[in-house]
């Protein structure tokens, strides 16, 4: 017992059997095994069932707006690179409302880990389709079945040349833990798309369904090969699990930020050089 990230909350608001429970447990273990402490960790989330996770974690918490966690997380890391920044939120939050931040944070390559609890549905708002819902799935809004193509976060992230792209099924806890650890260790934008069943609203993609429709990538897959990665990314008959792509050669956002070139300390510890400011003002004698 007694994981350092256990947080004393009266009650967890998820449905019994929800995939979020397993993910929650696995993440705590992964962090502990990496030797990371709650004091150095910020859990960032949006709004949704998944996004409640930080409520149940010891650590710093920024439980912000629906759709916006990646923007916030990027800024947190950029202003204090000493923190470990982990985003937990739903497929609706990260790929739907927050789709632009997803694209554009990948391009910035902030050193954060993004775990999408992908239950292929809007859980908290009670069962509408999410961007990742399978075609044909019927919901109270999509009464004739979903007609949009499902968003493929893995293919999109490979296309955007993300630093670390992976998929897990939370039912497979050991594998999930390994990937969480690899993602957190990776320097750069790490995506873990985590299949996580919603027992209340997704009757299509159940625990059993995920078991049957996924497989674990073996060693023959070379995640540093972008073409291979894309090949795996677009497989949908059975979804491959594991590290699908990685590109470790990329500079992270904060490394690319000049002010950290020689001084790594977080902004809150720095002091404005008042003399420099005064000199600078004096120097504005010309436009």
């Amino acid at each position: 017992m007694g994981n350092p990230f256990d947080y004393n909350t009266e009650e967890i608001a998820w449905c019994p059997g929800c995939g979020n429970f397993t993910l929650h447990k696995t993440l705590k273990e992964a962090l502990t095994e990496l030797g990371i402490t709650p004091e150095e960790t910020v859990f960032v989330s949006g709004i949704g069932q998944a996004a409640k996770l930080p409520q149940y974690m010891k650590g710093h918490m920024f439980n912000g707006l629906h759709g916006r966690p990646l923007a916030v997380a990027m800024a947190i890391k950029a202003t204090n690179p000493e923190l470990t920044v982990i985003v937990n939120s739903g497929d609706g939050c990260i790929y739907g409302e927050g789709g632009n931040h997803f694209n554009q944070q990948i391009l910035r390559n902030p050193d954060i880990t993004v775990i999408t609890h992908n239950n292929q549905v809007y859980g908290l708002t009670k069962g509408q389709a999410s961007p990742t819902s399978d075609k044909g799935m019927e919901t109270p809004v999509q009464i004739y079945g979903v007609s949009n193509e499902p968003f493929n976060p893995i293919a999109a992230a490979v296309a955007l040349d993300a630093s670390f792209v992976s998929r897990v099924f939370v039912g497979d806890q050991e594998k999930t833990k390994d990937i969480f650890k690899a993602a957190i260790k990776n320097k750069g934008f790490s995506l873990v798309d985590a299949f996580s069943p919603c027992v209340s609203f997704n009757k299509l993609n159940t625990f059993k369904w995920y078991k049957e429709n996924t497989y674990i990538l073996d060693d023959s897959h070379d995640p540093t090969d972008r073409m291979q990665a894309f090949q795996k990314a677009i497989e949908t008959k059975k979804y491959p699990l594991g590290i699908i792509y990685r590109n470790s050669s990329k500079r992270t956002f904060w490394e690319a930020t000049m002010i950290y070139e020689t001084n790594k300390s977080p902004l809150y510890k720095r002091k404005l050089n008042m003399d420099a400011l005064k000199q600078f003002i004096e120097s504005k004698k010309e436009l």
Binding site: T9, P38, E39, E40, V42, I47, K52, P54, Q55, K58, G59, H60, M61, F62, N63, G64, L65, R68, A71, V72, A73, M74, A75, I76, A78, T79, N80, E82, L83, N100, H101, N103, Q104, R108, F253, T257, M258, I259, P266, L267, Y268, R270, L272, N273, M274, A276, L277, K278, F280, I281, E282, K284, K285, E286, L287
Partner: protein
């Protein structure tokens, strides 16, 4: 003559803004008080733009827009038409015969200057430097120092370009010298030489730096882009993290994320971008995050007139964001105020954990003048975050409603914030009677109390005549225009009052306004937004016919303000 107004008109791409920049510098280094502002179209080439340069004689500072044109330099065949309503019999026009047929303008004093000749002889890019030369000659700017300045500016462009510029300048200067007498000589003021030059965008940027701002994520949008550019350009020197945001929603959320770690972020944008920030603003209300917002106004709705000026987003700044929470709105009236209030904004936002606005507009951010460096009042950075202990509760109930703000990693505590309604620990709650009501108190009533106790950093006090029965109210960027109008009117019965803090309304507003029998109000929108604010919070209800509203995208001019005031004091007090 006390002061002169020189106006250049030309198409985008003709380099008018270079002339503006050069001349502002040259005038100042010669010892003239100088001012410049521009109006331009939302395009990179073509159209018709203009710049007004004013210089004051001796100690006279010039800091406001006038309609009057003393000397006009039209660099395009359509140029005169563009400003014709501003010309008078005494306007001198330097007309290029190849562009403009003098005979078409018999009402003005036209003097032939062949600007476009340079085009053929040296190249079209050099016409503007030729114009700089002409003006330098006319205004007796010492040739040596002007040449040195030109050289310095073109140093990096290669010898060929440099020489062509020098050549163009020299030819212009020579021509200009022959025209010396068309303009009475202006007295110089040597102290001016040591003063500094800033435009509004730079002064907001500089105020931000002096206020400890070290994070900006912004999406370009006229007229706010200048602040982003300024901060980016000095980011390394002043430890600023700069991110060009993917959109304005990201920008505000990132700024809030930055404050969360103890950095100081600014959101800088214009109306459309700010509309998109409305949800993020509401987030600051719920999580009690400090934030500074620079909202540089332009005419709306929607895309509107991207490069023009307006004071039409006051209502929005006041009411943006769902739910109820507090805010402070500053509207600087000058370069110095922009600098000063932006610093204050950072300290106040931090102290009160609320959003603070700097409401500027295109007119203010695009206007320059010289300022004595000692008028740039540095107030110092007062960080309000604390080192946490292990029992730390982010939203602990306190007497004044303000819970000390911790930042992650500083101290033993956990900093937990939530956009849902939450308890003292930041944990989501549905305890309506127990927790929600207390948190509302915290966010609204108690903070309201705190805010209403804050004196505006720039006290509300009348200027102009000390005894008065007419008081001209203005806010934001029209301050110096109204000030000059009152100076011109020089009527012992008229004073002005400027609100640089528009919300909350300063406590002494009623007493100041009640001193006058006749209240006039000037603002740059069509519906009287500040008028309503005054009515709501001070019960002072100024009649519509005592209000001068202008919202066509132009700034107010000194002349317009004068004639408005005249019409109201003559007509029926």
């Amino acid at each position: 003559m006390d002061d002169l107004s020189i106006v250049l008109v030309g198409a985008a791409g003709q380099g008018i803004q270079t002339v503006e920049q050069f001349m502002v510098n040259l005038f100042k280094m010669t010892g003239y008080n100088v001012y410049a502002t521009k109006e331009y179209m939302s395009r990179v080439r073509g159209g018709m733009n203009s710049t007004e340069l004013r210089i004051g004689s001796g100690k006279k500072r010039v800091r406001a827009y006038v309609d009057r044109i003393d000397l006009l330099i039209p660099l395009h065949k359509n140029a005169i038409e563009h400003v014709q309503h501003r010309l008078s019999k005494s306007t001198i026009i330097l007309t290029d015969p190849d562009l403009i047929n003098q005979r078409e303008y018999p009402d003005y004093q036209c003097i032939a200057v062949p600007f476009t000749k340079i085009k053929k002889e040296i190249g079209s890019k050099f016409m503007n430097v030729f114009a700089v030369g002409v003006l330098s000659g006319i205004f007796r700017i010492p040739e040596k120092s002007a040449l040195q300045f030109i050289k310095q500016r073109f140093e990096t462009k290669g010898e060929l370009i440099l020489n062509k510029n020098i050549n163009s300048f020299n030819r212009g200067h020579k021509k200009g010298e022959t025209l010396k007498d068309i303009i009475p000589e202006m007295e110089k003021e040597p102290n001016v030489i040591n003063e500094i030059l800033l435009d509004g965008n730079q002064s907001v940027g500089l105020g931000a730096i002096a206020g400890g701002c070290n994070f900006i994520s912004a999406y370009p949008m006229s007229p706010s882009t200048g602040t982003l550019v300024f901060l980016a350009q000095h980011s390394r020197k002043f430890d600023i993290v700069v991110d060009q945001a993917e959109d304005e929603i990201a920008a505000i959320n990132k700024a809030i994320g930055a404050w969360y770690t103890g950095a100081r972020g600014i959101a800088s944008t214009s109306g459309g971008g700010f509309s998109l920030m409305s949800e993020g603003l509401s987030l600051t209300g719920m999580i009690e995050s400090p934030l500074v917002i620079h909202l540089a106004q332009r005419p709306g709705p929607a895309t509107g007139l991207p490069t023009r000026t307006a004071q039409g987003d006051l209502n929005l700044a006041l009411n943006a964001g769902h739910g109820e929470f507090h805010r402070i709105i500053f509207a600087p009236g000058s370069i110095e105020q922009a600098f000063f209030l932006t610093q204050h904004a950072f300290n106040l936002a931090d102290a009160l954990q609320i959003p603070v606005f700097i409401l500027t507009d295109q007119y203010l951010v695009d206007s320059y003048y010289n300022v004595p460096p000692e008028d740039m009042n540095i107030i110092g950075i007062r960080h309000a975050f604390i080192e946490t202990d292990s029992e730390y509760k982010r939203y602990v109930y306190t007497k004044n409603g303000i819970s000390p703000r911790g930042v992650p990693g500083f101290g033993e505590g956990f900093v937990r914030i939530d956009s849902d309604e939450h308890d003292e620990w930041g944990h989501i709650t549905e305890d309506l009677r127990g927790v929600r009501e207390k948190m509302i108190d915290k966010r609204i009533y108690k903070k309201g109390l705190t805010i209403s106790q804050i004196e505006p950093p720039i006290p509300l006090e009348p200027f102009g005549s000390e005894e008065f029965d007419t008081l001209v109210i203005c806010w934001g960027s029209s301050y110096l225009i109204v000030k000059e109008a009152l100076e011109e009117l020089n009527d012992s019965q008229i004073a002005g009052v400027h609100f640089s803090q528009v919300f909350p309304v300063p406590k002494n507003t009623k007493s100041v306004l009640h001193e006058a029998k006749n209240l006039l109000l000037i603002e740059g929108n069509a519906t009287g937004q500040f008028l309503k604010l005054l009515k709501l919070y001070t019960d002072i209800d100024i009649k519509k016919n005592r209000v001068y509203l202008k919202s066509n995208g132009e700034p107010f001019s000194v002349e317009e303000v004068i004639s408005f005031i005249r019409s109201k004091i003559k007509g029926g007090k």
